[in-house]
C-alpha cells in the first residue's frame, strides 16, 4: 500500500498546474499542446478512479456471457470472435446489456462530455 496522496490526486495536481500556471505563459502551438496534455492527464485521473471497479464488472460479465475464464484481454478477443461468427447476437441474453455497460464505462473515462454519452445518460435517467 502506497502513502498519500493517491496517484489520482497527484495526476490531478499536475493537470491543474498545467492549466492554471503553465498554459497562461504559453502561446500558439505550445498553448494548444499544453491543453491537450492537461486533457490527457484528466483521462488518466478518471481511469485511476473508475477503471478498477468497471474492469472487474466487465470481467465478471464476460465470464458469465462466454462460460469461460481468462484475462480481460483474452475474453474480449473471444467475445469478438463469437460476435463475428454470429454465435452471439443482440438476441443473446446479456450481450446488449454487457456492451452498453462496458461502453458507458469507457466513455466515463475517455470523453464524459461527448454528446452521444450525455444523451445516453439522459435517456437512462428518464427511464428511471
Amino acid at each position: 500500500m502506497q502513502d498519500q496522496p493517491t496517484s489520482a490526486e497527484l495526476v490531478g495536481a499536475v493537470a491543474d498546474f498545467i492549466r492554471t500556471h503553465a498554459m497562461p505563459q504559453l502561446e500558439g502551438h505550445a498553448a494548444f499542446h499544453a491543453r491537450v496534455a492537461a486533457n490527457a492527464l484528466d483521462i488518466v485521473k478518471r481511469e485511476l478512479e473508475i477503471a478498477p471497479e468497471a474492469n472487474a464488472g466487465e470481467h465478471d460479465r464476460l465470464k458469465a456471457l462466454l462460460g469461460a475464464d481468462g484475462s480481460l484481454d483474452d475474453l474480449n478477443r473471444e467475445l469478438c470472435t463469437r460476435i463475428q461468427a454470429g454465435e452471439l447476437t443482440l438476441d443473446t441474453e446479456g450481450l446488449k446489456d454487457h456492451l452498453w455497460a462496458t461502453t458507458l464505462a469507457k466513455l466515463a473515462v475517455d470523453q464524459p462530455k461527448y454528446s452521444g454519452y450525455r444523451r445516453a445518460l439522459e435517456e437512462e435517467n428518464a427511464e428511471k
Binding site: 491537450v36 496534455a37 474480449n76 467475445l79 447476437t89 443482440l90 470523453q111 461527448y114 454528446s115 452521444g116
Partner: protein, 335 residues
Amino acid sequence: MSDRNNDFTASLSEAVRRHIEGATGVDGLQRLSGGASQETWAFDATTSKGTPLPLILRRAPGGTRAEKTTAVALETEAVLIELAEKAGVPVPTVRHVLTPEDGVGQGFIMNRLTGETIARKILRDEEYAEARPKLARQCGEILARLHSIDKAKLPALRVAAAGEEIRQYHATLREHGHPHPVFELAFRWLEDNLPAGDTELTLVHGDFRNGNLMIGPDGVRGVLDWELAHIGDPMEDLGWICVNSWRFGNIDKPVGGFGTREDMFAGYEAVSGQSVDPERVKFWEVLGTLKWGIMCTSMVTAFKSGLDPSVERATIGRRSSETEIDLLRLLAPRS
C-alpha cells in the same frame, strides 16, 4: 532552409506570372497546413492593375504523396474540381495545374474563397445564423449535382462499393489488433444489411462533411478536400455527413449539426429526380461511424511506433469510444 524558401518563392512567382493572366508576382505567402508529403499555402498574386488575386497552392514538394494509399493524386484532385464546377458544384476555380517546368513540385493553384470552414464557428456564430437553416437542403442539392458527373469523363479512381469498404476497414482493425466487440457487432450488422447491388455507382466525394465545406452568410460557397474521392454508392456521401462526430455537439441536427435529413433528402430529390432510401443512408451512417472509430484507433499505431509521438496523436485513440456509443445508439437502442 532560407535558400530553399527563396527558390520556392521565386519558382512560384515565375509560374504565376507565366500561367495566370495579369499576375506580376507573389505576396504574403503563408503555409496553412499539411503533413510531410502534402502542403497547402495561401498567397496573393500581385497584378498589373493593382488588385491582388487571393490564391491557394496545394502541392506535394517531393512529387507524390504517400501518406494514405486511398488518397488521390493532386492532379486528379484538380481534374475532379474542374468537373465538379462544370456540374454546378460550388468549388474554388482551379487556375493552374503545376508542370515539371514550374519547379514547384506536383499540385495546383486555385482561387482562395472567403468564408468559414471551422465547424464550431459555423454552428455557433451569429454571422451564419441565416445560413444554417438552408445548409442541409443545399448539401442535398450539391451532392445530387456531384453524383451526376458523367463517369466516362472521370479520371482513373479507386472503386469501392459497400462490400469492399467493409473488407478494407475490417483488415485495418485486425492489423491494429486491439479487441473492439462493438466494432465487431457493427461489422456483423453491416454484412447482414448490405444494400442490394442494383444501385449505379457514381463519383463519391468521400469526405463531404461539416469542416470540409466553405460557408458564408449566404450558405455553401465551396466543397473542399477532394483527396478521398472514389467511385462508390452515392448514398455514402449522404450518410457520412450525418455521422454524429460531424455534428459537433448538435446531436439533434443530424446533417452536420445544422439541419435535418428530410431537408437534405428533399434537396437531393429535387435536383436528381431520384428518391432517397433512408435505410440505405442509415447503412452508410453506420459504416461511416465505424470508419471514423477505426481511423481514431489506427492513430495509436503511429503514436506507439514513434512515427508521431505527440500527445495530440496519442489522445485521438481515446476518441474511438465516442463512435462505439454512437454505434450502440444506432444498432442496439435501449428503449
